[in-house]
Amino acid sequence: MNSVTRRNFFKFVAGAAMAPAIGSLPSRLLAAENCPNIVVGTWGGDYQNLLDANIASPLMKPQGSSVIFSTADQTSRMTKMRAEKASRRGSLDVTCLSDVDMYEINRSGLLQPVQTALVPNLANTIEQFRKPYSIAQMFSAFVIVYTPGKGTPPKSFGDALDPRHKGKVGFSDILYGFVGSASALAAGDKTANMMSGKDFLNKLKANSPKVYPSNETVAAALKSGEIEMTWMWKARALQWKKAGVPIDFVVPTEGAIPALFEASVPKNAPDGTCGYAFINAMLDPRAQLAFAEKMGYAPTVKNAALPDALARQVGFTDAELSRFVKLNYENMLTQRSAFLDYWSKDFKVGL
């Protein structure tokens, strides 16, 4: 008999209500293990391609995981994270930012503390780059880049004041904050607070430095001989050298300002566990080697096993590492606006 009794009806309704949950059980279990949708907020271009070619495809895919890149510049990414602050579920499992920006976004209460148990590769990282809210994927430092064969090579940031470099020193406008910090070091402020660099920059102005709108235009100026010295990331200088720009570089005697590319998991990440799986893969020696080869940044893990030539090229000696300045991010954050005002309204005017 096919009559629908009340009991049968309730059995059917209860079964129907449970069915999706039962059906999704295996996929949920799979998701916990394999991470089918890890959303990584990153820059586009080469960096994203390298993340894909050296982490997502070779390290995550074989585990059945899949990575989706949410590409944007850092300002857009930070804005997105701020806009999602009130949401229980954000859109990023991993966010990639520079060290200064990562500090700022953590200061806004948007990152979760690193769950070290989920990032076993963290044990291999260089101690001085470990932070409670992020992992450092690779690093470089602000060095002096110069054209060789033009007299005694510079050794310190302070050499930019030498009259023989008059009109031959150039800076990238977008690195104004780091130029400020380097100037502070040259002025004797070991904490590299950019506002302490104002006096040095005022003196430097008498030497007619140039300011270019981008890093690329600085490279063009070095290549054409318009300038003979700049302050730049070592990794970028290596890329220029490979591209045929006749330059050399030196870690300044005052100390080097580190630049770190970092990754972290937002507090409201849809799947933080998977986010950490990706972060752990970022610290895999194979991925670290690939980034050193292609981007010229030094690995942050001690087991990357770079070939000697590459290690000498991208890395820093222990002596150089000991000269790395520990930046005061809080000061960088609070002084940034005032220093940009000085940079735009005083330093750059008339150059």
Binding site: T75, R82, E104, R107, S108, D173, I174, Y176, G177, K210, V211, Y212, P213, S214, T217, A220, S224, E226, E330, L333, T334, Q335, R336, S337, L340, D341, S344, K345, K348, V349, L351
Partner: protein, 297 residues
């Protein structure tokens, strides 16, 4: 009046109503896209800047006060206005003859010429600026030629000067001016000019008394469009102006992206928007008023 020109009796009100109805969704979407972010900017511009927390909710005029009391920002606005007006005038002067020739042209290559004018629009502003960098750089084309011909002994500094920005910006907006003028000129009866010439008017007289007045709607539309583009130019002033020339759009970007001062950046954006709108409306109404009689006739 011919039957074709007669409006359908009794259908005027209804068709107007349905036209409004049809336009409503698009208007609502455009209003939403434009107004919501603009209102958001207005709100942000009244907040207080906090270097750590980005901004604190407030109702303060300090950001606008900062702009109007700081000679640096006023000079940036003034520079933007001067460059924009100059580039608009240059685009009009150089664009009008091209647009006029195109409008009059019966050539079978006319479409090809239009494609050639549109072609630069297919290339991004950054790429075009890069092209100018190759031309104007110290080791660029101009300096190489001048050095080769012996006119100069050391490269001239052409990059990062107002000249570079004016050249680059005019190059960017010129196709917009030509296409706007050409589309309007296509719609007017240029045989009036031929009649004037037949009646003995010299070319210069027929241009100023016939061609120019009938082209006014195109000039007004083109100038307004180009002026707005120039006022909001970003890539060209950054790449070709460098530190030598600072305009408003890069300054807005600097405040939002570099200084993280969103309230002040928003105030700058609102001021730029209002000034752009004001100047565009003023230039439009000036042109319209000057040639009102011609346009009415």
């Amino acid at each position: 009046m011919s039957a074709l020109q007669q409006p359908a009796r009794g259908s005027g009100g209804a068709s107007k109503g349905s036209a409004y109805l049809l336009a409503t969704p698009a208007t609502a979407i455009v209003a939403l896209i434009i107004l919501v972010p603009a209102l958001q900017l207005v709100r942000y511009s009244l907040n207080h800047f906090d270097p750590v927390d980005l901004m604190q909710t407030a109702l303060t005029g300090e950001n606008y006060r900062k702009f109007f009391t700081d000679p640096y920002y006023l000079s940036v606005l003034w520079t933007t206005l001067k460059i924009s007006i100059l580039c608009s005038v240059l685009a009009l002067v150089f664009g009008f003859p091209v647009a006029y020739s195109l409008a009059k042209s019966q050539s079978r290559y006319k479409s090809l010429l239009i494609i050639l004018i549109v072609f630069p629009l297919l290339v991004g502003n950054v790429v075009r600026a890069a092209g100018w960098m190759v031309v104007l750089g110290n080791a660029g084309f101009v300096n190489a030629v001048l050095l080769h011909l012996g006119f100069i002994h050391a490269p001239l500094r052409l990059m990062y000067t107002p000249l570079a920005v004016v050249l680059g910006t005019t190059g960017v907006v010129l196709p917009y001016m030509i296409l706007t003028l050409q589309s309007v000129l296509e719609g007017v009866d240029l045989s009036v000019e031929e009649a004037a010439r037949n009646l003995g008017a010299p070319a210069i007289v027929s241009f100023f008394r016939i061609v120019l007045p009938i082209a006014v709607p195109g000039i007004a539309a083109g100038t307004m469009l180009v002026l707005i583009l120039c006022m909001n130019a970003y890539a060209t002033p950054v790449l070709l102006g460098g530190t030598g020339l600072v305009m408003m759009a890069p300054t807005v970007y600097d405040q939002i992206s570099k200084a993280n001062d969103w309230p002040f950046g928003s105030a700058l954006a609102i001021i730029l928007m209002i000034v752009t709108l004001g100047v565009a409306v003023m230039s439009n109404s000036f042109i319209q008023r000057k040639y009102a009689k011609t346009m009415r006739s």
